[in-house]
């Protein structure tokens, strides 16, 4: 820092960052809603932010920064549409933007919130599945393609291409910016929730700190937004509850030196009680609304784990029943895996192993690290040393996270010293 002359710039920078954080998605959703031109709206908004960083230090931060940015961005959109006017559609584009301006003028202090409609467009079934979460992160939260790429372990150029393709599709395929009607919302909400949950999983799956953790926080923020905007949807609440149960355990799942600690060995005193209380409340609300979907069952399983570890209640039979229910709904091999682990807690490791073994034939589980880790643990408990060794070794080969690798190495060493 070089003295007072930099202060207005720093203040302008901070103000711009704050607006970006709080209003980026709102501004973008509004700018793109009618024209469905997400890329064009992004460009206009980027130029507006650039102008802000140039003008605010000299002129001071305006009283209503989002409105200021919106006005400048809309002017940029109009300029761009005029430049394109010779091509077909230029007039239509201008008309749409004029409609937008009228609407915004009618509500000068608050920009209409179209973020939910934007999310439904981003997670539309016509958009490539792998592009949905990245697109939401970029449009609602203003993440750069490079940030998203590193979070999703995708090369930056490939991620940029994917995002560009998805935006072109919204525009060309006529994907609407609207919240679906009551009769189709359940089905369409699934893809939105799935995209947000995939973001959370990215932030949870890898134990590592830093970008993964912030990704989890962003996903929770998005889930809160959806739950608040759709208060009548039980699955939106249940998904948020599920994320909060997981998030509550984050401080407890790493020991000294960053060692991985499985659920059973976690110090429950380190769990975040406020997160758990909120999760329980959300789950109750969701259950009160009705029909149990995937997220509601999964959140109920987490609630049962909490009751088991905190109050010492034997909730394994309830957990097993919930997994049965969930498997009937999803037929997912990962659910079958978790069900087998719950079964082992009730009928012993041999019963769990018997349920696990047929799953080893499933191609989708061949490179699924948790499957081999679970199988290794159950085999060790059942005294099947060879199976335990080969399964834990496979799990080690599939783990990218150093904490998980260290944990699996320790498990393998314990196996060598254990009496046969």
């Amino acid at each position: 820092m070089a003295g007072k002359s930099e202060q207005p710039e720093a203040a302008a920078q901070r103000a711009a960052e704050r607006v970006a954080r709080e209003s980026y998605g709102r501004l973008l959703a509004f700018l793109a809603a009618r024209t469905r031109d997400v890329a064009g709206a992004e460009d206009a908004l980027a130029e507006a932010f650039a102008s802000a960083l140039k003008l605010w230090p000299a002129e001071g931060v305006p009283a209503n920064p989002p409105a200021w940015l919106l006005t400048v961005a809309r002017r940029r959109q109009i300029d761009a549409a005029r430049r394109r006017q010779t091509r077909t559609g230029g007039e239509d584009h201008l008309k749409l933007i004029a409609d937008e301006m009228e609407e915004a003028a009618a509500t000068p202090n608050e920009i209409p919130d179209r973020r939910l409609a934007l999310m439904f467009a981003c997670a539309h079934p016509a958009i490539e599945r792998s592009a949905r979460s990245p697109l939401i992160l970029q449009t609602v939260l203003g993440f750069t393609a490079a940030d998203i790429a590193s979070a999703f372990l995708i090369p930056p150029a490939a991620m940029s291409q994917r995002l560009v393709r998805a935006k072109a599709r919204i525009k060309e395929a006529g994907i609407p910016f609207r919240v679906p009607d009551a009769d189709e919302i359940a089905e369409r909400l699934d893809t939105v929730l799935e995209a947000i949950y995939a973001t959370y999983s990215k932030g949870w799956g890898e134990i590592g700190e830093g970008s993964a953790q912030s990704l989890a926080e962003e996903a929770i923020w998005l889930a809160q937004l959806v739950a608040a905007l759709l208060p009548a949807e039980p699955e939106a609440k249940a998904m948020l509850a599920l994320m909060l149960y997981a998030e509550a355990r984050r401080p407890a799942r790493r020991g000294a030196g960053g060692a991985y600690i499985p659920l059973e060995e976690q110090d429950t005193g380190a769990w975040d009680a406020a997160h758990i209380a909120r999760a329980e409340d959300l789950l109750r609300q969701a259950t009160g609304i009705g029909a149990s979907g995937r997220y509601q069952i999964e959140a109920a399983i987490q609630s049962a784990h909490v009751a088991r570890r905190l109050a010492g209640a034997d909730t394994w039979p309830a957990i097993l029943a919930l997994y049965d229910h969930l498997f009937a709904l999803t037929a997912s091999p990962v659910v079958a895996l978790n069900r087998a682990v719950a079964l082992a807690e009730i009928d012993g490791p041999a019963a769990g192993l018997a349920a696990l073994e047929p799953l080893g034939e499933d191609k989708r589980l061949l490179d699924y690290q948790p499957y081999w880790a679970a199988r290794g643990h159950l085999a060790a408990r059942a005294g099947r040393r060879e199976d335990a060794r080969s399964s834990l070794t496979l799990a080690l080969g599939l783990a990218a996270d150093p904490a998980v690798r260290a944990y699996l190495r320790t498990e393998l060493e314990k196996l060598e010293t254990r009496r046969p």
Binding site: I154, P155, G397, R409
Partner: protein, 122 residues
């Protein structure tokens, strides 16, 4: 899609015997996992770059030089040939490679992929 995973690392840094034992165990586990998933096609590990000899012919004159082709800190140390769905999966396998923690894994699609007409991505 077939990819070559090229392992680059600084082979001038000494590796302790314990570290070496741990690394070999992890490499064996990684190779076992690739075999189980039906992904691994072949691999070779090279002797240290200090053993390298470089040859080139310029204007009809053959030059033989001691040492590797490029004087970089991280040297080519070995390769793994894999077959998987696409680049996303190749990146996952590379991230699981023990060599990714100490060095860098370069992922290159094979030229023969072009015949498959499936493009670079997916």
């Amino acid at each position: 899609m077939r990819y070559m995973l090229l392992i680059h690392f600084d082979d001038t840094q000494p590796t302790s015997p314990e570290e070496w034992k741990r690394l070999s165990g992890e490499y064996a586990a990684w190779l076992g996992a690739m075999k189980k998933a039906g992904v691994g096609l072949g691999s070779e590990r090279l002797q240290p770059s200090a053993t390298a000899t470089s040859v080139r012919v310029r204007d009809g004159k053959t030059e033989v030089v001691d040492g590797p082709y490029a004087e970089t800190k991280e040297q080519f140390a070995g390769y793994y040939l894999i077959e998987c769905e696409g680049l996303d999966e190749a990146v996952q396998w590379a991230a699981r490679c023990p060599g990714a923690r100490a060095g860098t894994i370069e992922i290159r699609p094979l030229w023969s992929n072009k015949n498959a007409e499936r493009g670079w991505e997916e």
